[in-house]
Symmetry: C2
Subunit: 555 residues, 2 copies
């Protein structure tokens, strides 16, 4: 990029950065005669493109043979790759698959003025596209985001909007964190109390730390099964897989509030109103396994994703240690300790998912106490989990907290709202590499890609999510799509035009100068850490990761 | 409605209630062969219909001559009226204008399963429309909503969504309350501090009353001029006029914070963080008139609306009484008192708007102290303003607080969130009649229609707006569209299917049983009034309304 002779007008706007670009001197102009020509298999992509071009231009772009915007698949291209060729007479988008064609369409939007993203006709703009070619293909197959709708519920329209923004950035995996201590967001027909009771909490802690006050205000919401089908179908039209996550055996207090018999104590609990790791976990009775496999059956009916998330992170063992029934269970099952008990539970879910043809997806804690054969690991505690999993033959999605946690503070300014952990700048995210340096090439094959994680304890509205997610998600998208070794200064230049697109879309991204006055949260405590504090904290968390070398071959 | 022999399947879903309906035995089925046939003048409506039918059905509905969904205008019909005829072979929508055709399209959606409103393909549904005819036309030309984006800012995507919901209910006027003490939401190029300073406040009062605490959290946001153009164009595609409102000479503290020289004291003020009537008002210097006419010039460039709102309500005269400069001004201008001074200011704005070919739109307080020739009055303090204005020949938009204020409490349950004023039930809104009973037929000609007012002091998110607005806005839409004397029980039956539409759209309406747990605001003080308390309160407010009988003929 930035090679001499390539005018900025073409390359300036492209995020992610393409494999190659050439530019001619002419333009293709969108007008009333523009029509999309696509084979039957690409009709959905053509309809999406027609829909994307219509609002701002006001043009009724038709579809039909002989159209001058030609969509086609070309077997020689990488599966998600594309080749976009613009001449004065024609736009040609060839993809290695329908997804590749779709990404070529997104690149086409990236060559139009930013106002193309407005939702009603814009006067005084000539809708022209520079002639030339763009060739592109992604580095990784898993280009994801984890969105936590459990801590703060997002209405489904905001999920649609988030999916649109993901598609614009050619991200293809939405890891939807649907349940946690603070809320259960998914209707389960067999267990209606999960949402009747679990979908709302009495109040919410404001800020971090044990002394942070509650706000006295109920918070809640959930997705009906029809809503979920709609979200999944909407995502599929944008070539995004929605990976659902039902947390277990920790982060379950919302479920315990609904069904106390799932807990160790069996006592009444309310949906958790505090943040942080919670000691209330599932009991390991057979009936509890059955409850969760019932839930996963409905989840599998709703989500066609090959991956089904079961959580597995941050499950304190204290209640199990103290509970005679659990100790007896450990003995009956012939297990060594509580770590093996968690592993046993995860393996039970893993068996259930595998028998239904799905793969278990879990946080890197599932490697502790024995792991689960064939599981895919979301490695979050730095890179230790990714290294251990890849070396033992497990597939890995990298989301190391210090490179991909989009709830971490964006600068060390005291004006940052509710600052959490270490500083994770736009530049840091841009340099995120999902493949840990210590892996061999063969081991690195197990790294499917990476994802940014948006934990929403401190994001209580879609507007706040915008502030934390953007523009860091733009940098993350390029880190996951483009070849290694991108130049941040070049990215930052291209970002300027890209921000005009986000403006047109109404995205309330963080400005380079810091938060706008109304994006600040004065006086609300965060929990900032230094790099050393975080490193010590994570080192303590990863001490248990250890796997047998031949682990992945087991079943 | 409800006549014997008309199956509920057809009529059950229609809100507003049509003039007449007949139903046959057959169905028209949407399928891959469905195409819209529309003359050039209706291409925009056709495109909207294609766009509305595509997401849920997944059908690529084409446009072209010979299509089996025929749109046309028919001069014999009322301007906004339509005739929808469905046979097994064809759907025919004739309108008195493009707007009428558009409302016919909305009625067509009302004959399809509620899932038509979902945004991605829904499996297992046959998209069929019962055969028959629907003839309909509105009672009033002004079917509006006032949306207060000053007290709590709504991101533009939420304004688009609100416009979609208005269009679905055949509402055609969005009165956008853009400025107030607590925020200025519109970019003005000439006076950038209006948004730099005025678009956010330090914190927000939570609940009503002098003892209600502040929340310590900044709130802000504004629409760029490009955003406004987009909102106006988006509304126009849905046959909705956006009537902007720039408050003056009271409700201006956000402007005073930005430009203290506009105030009486000239001292520094912050954007107001409290609710209620505010004593800080504009000074009446010539430079202040000039400032506001400059602002109105930019407003007129952005908003093609024939009506331009200038506010005029709730302007306490205390500062003017105490201020020697203001008293001197009253003497210089030869005015009797402060009421006449306010009237003089409003007349200056009126002259400015009229010379630009627009009409001033103001709250019924503009009738005090002399009124403004040719102005249109939004009558809110009961019906007194509507009666006085109509009798003096002014046009009136009725929005009596006790029939059309959608921030008023929906029941007398203590569970209602932040209960304000009197109870205004769904039934009450349904029986809203914009024409006060005491007007003669000739006087009633001046009543253009009515609107519901959504004041957002206590609605701090789009989710809360949903709770207060729906389903009361459905009842209001029928009150403004349909013939007088509707039967609430019949409406309530039809509403059940309509609520399924709102569910499909994700609207978080109030349930008949009351608020969901997370829609409640326990412990937050409201200001409920009895009917007697409200009547006394309003009577005191209307004491000043008096106009010369020949007022409207003046210029």
């Amino acid at each position: 990029m930035g090679a001499p002779g390539i005018p900025r007008s073409l390359v300036a706007s492209l995020i992610p950065r393409p494999v190659s670009v050439t530019q001619g001197d002419g333009v293709f102009v969108l007008d009333a005669a523009t029509a999309v020509d696509a084979p039957a298999a690409l009709r959905g992509v053509a309809a999406w493109l027609q829909g994307a071009l219509r609002p701002a231009t006001g043009l009724q772009i038709a579809a039909g043979v002989g159209g001058n915007v030609v969509l086609l698949t070309e077997p020689g291209l990488a599966a998600e790759g594309f080749e976009l060729t613009v001449t004065p007479a024609e736009v040609r988008i060839a993809g290695g698959s329908a997804a590749g064609v779709f990404y070529g369409c997104q690149a086409l939007l990236g060559l139009l003025p930013p106002a193309i993203h407005r939702r009603a006709p814009v006067a005084g703009i000539r809708w022209q596209i520079p002639t030339g070619t763009v060739h592109d293909a992604p580095r990784f197959g898993w280009r994801g985001v984890m969105l936590d709708v459990a801590r703060h519920f997002l209405p489904k329209r905001e999920v649609f909007r988030f999916l649109d923004l993901m598609a614009m950035h050619r991200l293809n995996m939405l890891h939807l964190h649907l349940t946690d201590d603070q809320g259960w967001r998914l209707e389960i027909r067999r267990y209606p109390r999960l949402t009747e009771i679990g979908a709302w909490r009495r109040e919410t802690q404001v800020g971090a730390g044990p002394d942070a006050p509650g706000n006295g205000r109920p918070h809640g919401g959930f997705y009906s099964q029809d809503d979920i089908r709609e979200i999944v179908a909407y995502a599929a039209e944008r070539f995004i897989t929605v990976v659902p996550e039902i947390e277990s055996p920790g982060h379950v207090q919302a479920a315990l509030a609904a069904y106390p018999q799932l807990g160790v104590s069996g006592g009444n609990l309310e949906v958790f109103t505090r943040w942080g790791i919670n000691y209330n976990v599932l009991n390991m009775a057979e009936t509890t396994v059955r409850f969760f496999t019932d839930v996963l059956n409905e989840v599998m009916d709703l989500f066609p994703s090959p991956y089904i998330g079961v959580g597995g992170d941050e499950c304190p063992k204290d209640q199990w240690i103290l509970d005679p029934r659990t100790q007896q269970r450990i003995a009956e099952l012939g297990l060594a300790d509580e770590e093996e008990l968690q592993s046993w539970f995860i393996r039970r879910l893993n068996d259930h998912l595998r028998s239904a043809g799905r793969s278990l997806f879990g946080w890197d804690e599932i490697l502790e106490g024995g792991g689960a054969p064939g599981a895919t690991v979301a490695s979050w505690r730095g890179t230790a989990g990714a290294v251990a999993a890849a070396r033992s033959g497990c597939d890995v999605v990298s989301c190391p907290d210090d490179q991909a946690y989009l709830d971490y503070r964006q600068s060390d300014s005291p004006r940052e709202p509710i600052p959490v952990s270490v500083v994770l700048t736009l530049r840091d995210v841009y340099h995120f590499d999902p493949v840990p340096a210590q892996l061999t090439a063969a081991e690195a094959e197990h790294v499917l890609g990476g994802q940014g994680n948006i934990w929403t304890e401190h994001m209580d509205s879609p507007r706040t999510v915008d502030y934390f997610a953007f523009p860091r998600l733009c940098a993350l998208a390029e880190a996951l799509w483009s070849a290694k070794g991108g130049d941040f200064e070049d990215f930052d230049r291209r970002l300027q035009l890209h921000l005009a697109r986000l403006d047109a879309l109404g995205v309330e991204y963080r400005r380079a100068a810091g938060p706008l006055p109304w994006q600040q949260r004065p006086g609300v405590p965060g929990r900032p850490e230094t790099q050393d504090q975080r490193a010590a904290h994570i080192a303590a968390l990863v001490a248990n990761i250890a796997l047998p070398a031949d682990f992945a071959s087991g079943s």
